[in-house]
Symmetry: C2
Subunit: 291 residues, 2 copies
């Protein structure tokens, strides 16, 4: 069940639309060219979490695509309308709240913008709790290309996710659950729909590590929230470059994202790696407290 | 003006749909993930040209995405329905016929497939006739990655075209008209919506050259039709690897595609290059004869 709310100047609180019937034009460039941007947020107790961070990132993605970004207040009101309606239709539930912005129908110059809210599917977290078997897959780009080739949109969360989806299908066809992309020069990057985080404990100091943003990855809103919360709790933090050996040698590795939160990685390319239910529990509590 | 025809088992000739109202579900993975494939064909005198080549390539793209491909006959009938209706609505006209196939609404396993037919916009060819100022832009991938990383979908024509569109916008912001992508190892690849072709005349032998498919480019249906027609007319043909120096030293360079046909390149990164109205005319006639 999904609640749809379109941003529409004629409807200051957003325009509720029936998700069971077509709502998009066939010529919308989102559908014909993947030409748009999106975010997926978690809502708990009727409130979208990290909304500012998601809107910041979405505005930055839109800028990379030279797409006008609707006012933040119009997104906020549409999200609020969607969550109120979801509460009526589905009762209290954790929710996935997607924000979508496309270039709209070719030639009109009028973007399409909408919010889709639905209950978090139970299987998302059940699957995660068992731990993920992950494949390392080459993302094809070297880790220095993002800066010199802005047209590759490497830091933008675009609707052009066919490669991300294909990488996940490839992993599943090999019996794995998820993917960590590496750069052509051998650096650890990110998952197709997640950030990569490592924990290392040395001489009593617990450190969280993640690849550096300059390697052309998406800035993870959950990664950042977790780093902030962990630092406040006495953890150290660090940034790449990271290589696959760092993953194999860490005390624990997670894929983190807004809906799934911390998903422990238990094997890489078929080789089991250390994981730590205690650390997963500790960091999940820190993260949930920070959301 | 656009005619829409959806492939629909309940409508053997295709289901005509009103292009002026929404026809796609907001949760269609084509719109939310760029998860699908497409083709753009030229129709002349009410008949789509190179339809077999387009359907072959689309089937191959679909296979790369692990998408079931509807029967060719259902596409052919839908195209025929669309072109008959376009004739009624717009009179005799050359037409752009787009074929689109998405993974459909998440979770349903039911793909969306449709045909969109509209008159060829006059400006497409007017602009082309003046010649194109082209920028060379790094595509980020090296020319050998396609084979070893099938999840990058390099030979597939997917709906995830945000980077192609961003590259064109980048070129236009720099005062150029179009783009030729190069690989990270310095090879000439293709345009964002076209193939690259060079003509070289030496010792009375006229040769057409294009980058080799193994470099991770899309197999060009127009490039192939042109090569076949030119060979029948006495031209030699050759395949890359090509480097930017080959472009600068050729007797003429074109971007070729189904709708725009041969678009002569007149400068690269601001440097004028030779072009030949005679060769453009000769090859356009050969190509049109072969369509």
């Amino acid at each position: 069940m999904t609640v749809l709310v379109f941003l529409d100047p004629k409807f200051p609180e957003g325009r509720l639309a029936d998700a069971a019937v077509p709502q998009l034009m066939a010529a919308d460039l989102g559908a014909t060219r993947g030409d748009g941007v999106f975010e997926s947020m978690l809502a708990v107790d009727g409130t979208a979490r990290k909304m500012d961070a998601h809107l910041d990132r979405m505005a930055s993605s839109a800028q990379a695509l030279d797409l006008a970004f609707p006012e933040r207040e119009s997104w906020e009101r549409a999200v609020s309308t969607a969550l109120s309606e979801l509460l009526i239709q589905a009762g209290p539930t954790e929710a996935v709240v997607k924000l979508l912005l496309t270039r709209g129908v070719e030639g009109t110059g009028s973007p399409s913008a909408w919010v889709a809210a639905s209950p978090v599917p139970a299987e998302v977290r059940e699957r995660t709790a068992e731990g993920l078997a992950v494949l390392l897959l080459d993302r094809g780009y070297d880790s220095t290309v993002a800066d010199r080739a802005p047209w590759l949109l490497l830091g933008a969360k675009t609707l052009s996710y066919a490669v991300n989806m294909a990488a996940l299908r490839y992993a599943k066809a090999q019996g794995a659950d998820d993917v960590i992309f590496t750069s052509s020069d051998g650096k650890v990057l990110e998952g197709p729909t997640s950030s990569v985080i490592l924990a290392v404990e040395e001489d009593g100091v617990k450190t969280l590590l993640t690849p550096e943003l300059e390697s052309g990855i998406l800035p993870g809103t959950t990664q950042r929230a977790l780093f902030d919360a962990a630092e406040a709790a006495g953890w150290a933090r660090g940034y790449g470059p990271l290589e696959p050996a760092h993953l194999m040698e860490a005390d624990a590795v997670w894929l983190v994202s807004s809906i799934r939160l911390l998903a422990p990685v238990t094997s890489i390319d078929g080789t089991p790696i250390p994981s730590s239910p205690e650390l997963t529990e500790e960091l999940t509590a820190l993260l949930r407290g920070a959301l």
